[in-house]
Structures are given as structure tokens and as C-alpha cells.
Amino acid sequence: SASVARYALVLGDDALIAAQRLGELISSAPELEEDVALANIGLDELGQARALLQYAGRADGRSEDDLAYLRDEAEFRSAHLVEQPNGDFAGVIAKLLLFSLYQRELYAALTGSTDNYLAAVAAKAVKEVRYHVEHAVTWTIRLGDGTDESHRRMQGALDAVWPYLDELFEVADFADLAADGTAVDASALRTAFDTALDVVLDEATLTRPDVPAIRARGRYGEHSQHLGYLLAEMQVLARKHPGAAW
């Protein structure tokens, strides 16, 4: 249905934009092993994005590429968190920590969806995301509990992305789908998320940020100012060569 398609778009756009940001990093990581790891995570996110966009496009016959390359900014449904620029390595890890902990809860719940396609995507993704969480947690602890500088940077990075966290747990317009078991009620994931996060922050000697959440409405097509630049770059060939196949 159209509303399931809209829901798949929300999840798919988050994954797509997260993958695009990770794609920017390749060959710039602090170690080669980390280049490999970040590319892995990016590939997982890209795979999830493709599965979800393919599903979203079925409703009106659009391909994954139509959706990725030919939508305008206001038609995207990504959250502000994944749109944020990478910043330094602590910024990458802070974003990954929050996003992967959220995705872990999300996909775990979605494996029980009454929609078989979504349940199947979630079943695959939940295994992938387990590794993302592990990776983000390991680095959060290393950086938080490493040197003074790394602690300062990690705390700063966490503070910087914190305002964009709440949006992930907003239900947006999918109450009906959540009620009939198709979609996940994102607000119900928050407690498990917070519990898991607190354990990590504690071991990393980091403090839960005390900065106000922003009123982010990416689910309604109102995006952070970074998305326009990201899309201009991502879509440049599709815009220049309308109708071409690649």
C-alpha cells in the first residue's frame, strides 16, 4: 500500500544517506583496517537502502535509482542525524553509535512485522547492525577512555549530534501501520536504546549530553541544510544525463 511504501522510504532513506556519508570517508580513515570496516558498514547500509527503496518503489513503479537519483530534497524522508557531515573520526563514531543502536532496536522489532518483505529485510539487517553496534561501541570506549584529547573530542562529537537523536524515535505518520503490526512504533524503542547507551557511556567515561533537541522534521521533507549539498553531489550524473542507463 502507499503508506507501507512511505514507511519503507523512511527506513530506506536513512540507510541510503548513512551509506552516502560513509562513502565519503573511504581512503581517509585513521588506519587501513578502519577503511575496511567503515566500507563494510557503508555497504551494509547501502544494501538495506536498496532493498527498502525497491519495495517503496513498487507502489508506483519507480526503481531504486528513480528514488535515489530523481527525487528532490523535499521528497526525501531521511532523519537529520544521518544527514550531518562526518566531521572528525569522533564525529563519525558518535553518529554511528546513536544510529546503530537505534537501528538494532528497530530491525529487531521489525523482524516481527506482519509485512513479510519488511520482516525479511529486517532479519538480514539485524545481523549486520549487530556488527555496526559492536564496532561503534568499541571505538566509543577507546576514544572516551583513551587520551585526554580523544575524550574531549568524543564528548564534543556526542554533544554535537545529540540534538538530532529524538527525531529517530518519533512515530511520524505511521500510527496506523504500527497498530496493525506492519511498522515499528519507534517511540517504544527508546527505553531499550537508552539503557544500552548508558552502559556504553559509562564504560567510556562519557557524560550523557545535556543539550536541547531540535525540532527536526526530516520525515516530512524538511531537512538539515546539509542534505541539499549531499544530493547535488550524489545526483549529479543522473541530472546531467536524463534517461541514461549506467
Partner: protein, 308 residues
Amino acid sequence: RDRQDRFDETVAAESRIEPRDWMPDAYRKTLVRQMAQHAHSEIIGMQPEGNWITRAPSLKRKAILMAKVQDEAGHGLYLYSAAETLGVDREDLTEQLIDGSAKYSSIFNYPTPTWADMGAIGWLVDGAAIVNQVPLTRCSYGPYARAMVRICKEESFHQRQGFEILYELSHGTDAQHEMAQQAINRWWWPSLMMFGPPDDQSPNSARSMAWKIKRFSNDELRQRFIDMCVPQAEILGLDIPDPELNWNAERGHYDFGPIDWDEFFQVLKGHGPCNALRVSHRRRAHEDGAWVREAAAAHAEKQARTAA
């Protein structure tokens, strides 16, 4: 004397020299130089293709390209490990790379201005790499030979993907076809230079061949590559930019035009369009990562102390 004989016999018998075996100093040095250069090439080689990950024109191509660049990081890692079996340190090798004193394949000092370059790199650069590297799977030094087995398998996958990109472009819109042709025009000659200088200007080749590190001469490999490309270019529907390219029935090979070795040496000396960019990108990644590596070390030390 004995050791030298044993070494010579192992090599002659097509057996493998292993890390703990005795080996002549010059053999070790030659291998270290070659493997380090090979590893550096994989690492620097991530950049020309990394340049198009965010702009790949379809999600499928984006995924393939990300996976490919990731493979290159992986190849770099195997090769550094293989080099470390000879007693060198990866950190020292990295230092040499970022201070500009280490060599890497000059081909990566060319830019990738269009998407079609992803095709041309796959088809020609990886193609040339395979021709160079397949014989290395029988290299006399075991760890290098084994690394090459794995790497060659992935490279041939990459080459096919490059061919596919070009095929798609060549049979697409006029603008796409032209983009593909331009890319071939740009990459053809540099890819021929990947086999190194002509045999009569390659003084160390004979020794490497005696040691069974190298199996074929530069010119032999170059010819093999050209012979392989010509029919593929026909399938692609793209022209190879060499008016002198002609089948020579007598030789059973394609004849080809003269290579501009002056350009090769210019690029080698650092005047290529991207030399400065490639090394400085690597240096920046390394320097920007210093605080991260320090943090990881500091944390590991704390953990060790707690455990003790």
C-alpha cells in the same frame, strides 16, 4: 655456501622460500621493495576510484565501487603483512609512503575526471595488473605468491566490472559513448607503461627472473596485454587510440606504436597531474588519524594494566 645452495635448489625446483628460510640479502631487499611498492599502489589506488563513490550513477554501481575500493584496502593489508614476514615494519613503510620517498605505481597519478574512468581503470589498469600479477602467484617467495593468488581472483572480478561499465556506456547515449572513448584515450598509454620500461632499459629484470620472482619480461607482458585488449575493445565498440595497432600474422601478435617514455619518467619524477594530491591525501589521513591511534594505544594499555 650450503645455505646458498639450498636456496638455489629450492628456487630451481619451483618450491617456495618461506620466511624462516635463509635467503640472500639482495633477494630479500628486492622482495621488500617490490612488495612495499605493490602494497602502496593498492592503497594509493583507492583514491582515483574513491573519487566517484559519492557520485556513482546507480546504487548498484555505487555498491560495486565501494566493495572494490574496500578490496584494495584489503589487498594493501595482505601485502603489508606479507612484506612484514621479511622483517620490515608496516609503520616504516607507511612513513616512506607519506614522506614521498616510497614508490607506487605511476598509473595512480592520473586523474579520474569522469565516471567512465571507473570503467577504464577496471578494464585496463586492473587488466594490466592481472597480466603482471598472475605470474607472481608462482613467485618463489611463498607469502607473496599466496597473497597474489587471493588478489588475482578479486582483480579479475574487478576487471570484468570495469568492462561492464564501459560496455554500458559505449552502448548508451552519445554523450556516454563519448565519455567512454575519452577515458580509453586517456588510460590506454599509461596502462601500457604499467609493465615498466622496455627490456633493454630494465637492468634488474634478469636477476628477478633468475630468482623466479619475475617470470616474463616487461615487453612480453606488455605484448600479452595488448593482444588481450584488442578483441575486447572490439566487443566494447571502442577504439584503442593507437593508429599503428595492427595484427602481425608473422609474429602472431599485434604491432603497436611507440610509447612516450618521456611522459612516463616525468610522472615517475613527481610531475604527474595527481602526484601531489595522492601523497598529500594519504599524509592527511595518516596525520588526522594520529590522535585516534594514540587513543587506541592508551586505552589498550589501561586495559592491560587492569588485567594485570
